[in-house]
């Protein structure tokens, strides 16, 4: 019988390729459960999970909450905007208060990189990182690789390009780790201002021309241009970004091969992806969302069995 090598899912960096395969195999089974008339199993019925979100999230929180409910866990939700964090309570105090109510697992999103790592040194409950600042977003990377595996059969040997704001993206970093552990070749592509200075040290290719990047890859994972960061002038204008890095159907059709198009959401239609590209047969964006629930069920199930 296999088990995960870790007690918490803090980042893809800390887990082994075997862990990822085990999560995928378990997720296959949960995907099967999700396609039944009754989409629920009683595995975690004696477990309470707190979703602690210090940063806004819709998709990830819904996906986690659904995964928890499908596993029959009891769920409590916490968001910092309506809590005592506003009154000056520290992270550790907040979490310890939640744990005092007999909570077994914490799913946490925080704006500070390393917040879940800090927490893991002080509490005994299992922790799942649902995004920590610009650092990691492990379940998103797992569901991305799982979706590639589902569409192309395997991740190993595939060429994957991540396009857009690499500098601020926790999705990009987790994806790079996950894809490399599974044996894929990784390239990043974007305006030079949005590429971290030392990105090459992670062993990824760097390309500034999106057409060359698309011609090279099997899979393109397009990241959201964070409109809220526009004042910071990483590039001259949105229009210019769309002109140089926007992907549309015409560009996809001009390639001499079929590529798979991914996006972690939410999409800025008409900016990084045009509507005709996002809704084309290349796109597996909605499969990613569907797989997200199965992947999160697998992660929660496997961590719970490591109590």
């Amino acid at each position: 019988m296999q088990e995960l090598s870790v007690r918490h899912l803090l980042g893809i960096k800390d887990i082994t390729p075997q862990d990822i395969q085990l999560i995928f195999e378990t997720a296959d089974n949960f995907k099967d459960v999700l396609n039944r008339p009754i989409k629920k199993v009683p595995s975690l019925r004696d477990i309470t999970i707190a979703n602690v979100f210090f940063e806004n999230s819709t998709r990830t929180r819904l996906s986690f909450e659904l995964a928890e409910k499908r596993l029959s866990a009891d769920v409590i939700n916490f968001s910092s905007s309506s809590s005592s964090v506003k009154k000056g309570e520290t992270l550790l105090d907040t979490v310890n208060n939640i744990l005092a109510m007999k909570v077994d697992m914490i799913v946490m999103r925080h704006s500070s990189p390393g917040a879940p790592h800090f927490l893991s040194r002080h509490i005994t409950a299992n922790i799942v990182n649902a995004g920590d600042g610009t650092h990691e977003h492990p379940t998103q990377a797992l569901l991305d690789s799982f979706s590639i595996r589902e569409r192309l059969g395997d991740v190993a040997g595939k060429k994957v390009v991540i396009i857009g704001d690499i500098l601020h993206s926790r999705v990009a970093l987790s994806n790079i780790f996950a894809l490399q552990k599974l044996g894929a070749e990784v390239m990043v592509c974007g305006p030079i201002t949005l590429l971290p200075k030392y990105i090459k040290e992670l062993g990824v290719k760097v390309e500034l021309d999106v057409r060359k990047a698309l011609a090279w890859c099997d899979v393109a994972n397009v990241l959201r241009i964070q409109l809220e960061r526009q004042q910071m002038k990483y590039f001259p204008s949105l229009r210019e970004y769309t002109l140089y890095y926007g992907i549309d159907k015409k560009l996809l059709d001009s390639l001499d091969k079929e590529i798979v198009l991914m996006h972690p959401g939410p999409i800025n239609r008409g900016v990084e992806l045009s509507s005709d590209a996002a809704d084309s047969h290349h796109s597996i964006i909605l499969n990613q969302v569907e797989n997200g629930v199965a992947i999160r069920m697998a992660v929660l199930y496997l961590l719970a069995s490591r109590q």
């Binding site: 296999q2 088990e3 459960v33 009683p42 595995s43 069995s305």
Partner: protein
């Protein structure tokens, strides 16, 4: 460790043939009946039953594999984690007569989990249980099989192992394994 054959391949063939005829007595032409083999080892029994029934009746009885992992009651209560297996049920069981199939009936907890897992596919008309080996006086739950290959009196420390040709051995055998302090 001591190993002793309690049912050899010839007896096992006769046993499977007898169980199939008992099934035919109750299910006729199997028009409303389906077979569900329990993962991991019950599926081999289900395959063998399906093959033998096909030889007698000349038709394939719908056969699926049911995984009970997520419905078990010993999750987080055992040292080794439970690994899931594939569930493959390509038919609706609503209104059908379901025959659950497993190799060894011991505590009855797997069968309870299987009944829970099965309900996710619909409400069967009735449910029967077929096992090759019924270990007597070991039940934790009030569960009794409808069809039994053989009743076996065994110690709690012993284990019954059904081996199928092609899976891990050259021929079909059922073993009683006794752990000894060496």
């Amino acid at each position: 460790m001591q190993k002793r054959i309690i049912v050899n391949h010839k007896l096992l063939e006769i046993m499977v043939m007898r169980l199939c005829h008992q099934l035919i007595e109750n299910h006729g032409d199997f028009s409303d009946s389906v077979i569900l083999g329990l993962q991991p080892r019950g599926i081999y029994v289900a395959q063998r039953i399906q093959k033998t029934l096909a030889a007698i009746l000349g038709k394939q009885v719908p056969t699926g594999y049911l995984d009970t992992t997520f419905h078990r009651d010993d999750f987080r209560r055992r040292d080794t984690p439970l690994t899931a297996n594939a569930t493959k049920v390509d038919f609706l069981i609503e209104g059908k007569k379901v025959i659950l199939v497993d190799d060894v009936l011991y505590t009855g907890r797997s069968v309870r989990a299987a009944m829970d897992a099965m309900i996710a596919y619909g409400r069967p008309a009735n449910v029967e249980l077929l096992v090759l080996i019924d270990r007597l006086y070991t039940r934790h739950l009030p569960i009794q099989p409808t069809y039994v290959g053989r009743h076996v009196n065994s110690l709690l420390s012993q284990r019954v192992l059904v081996e199928w040709q092609g899976q891990d051995t050259p021929e079909d055998n059922i073993w009683l394994i006794t752990k000894t302090d060496e």
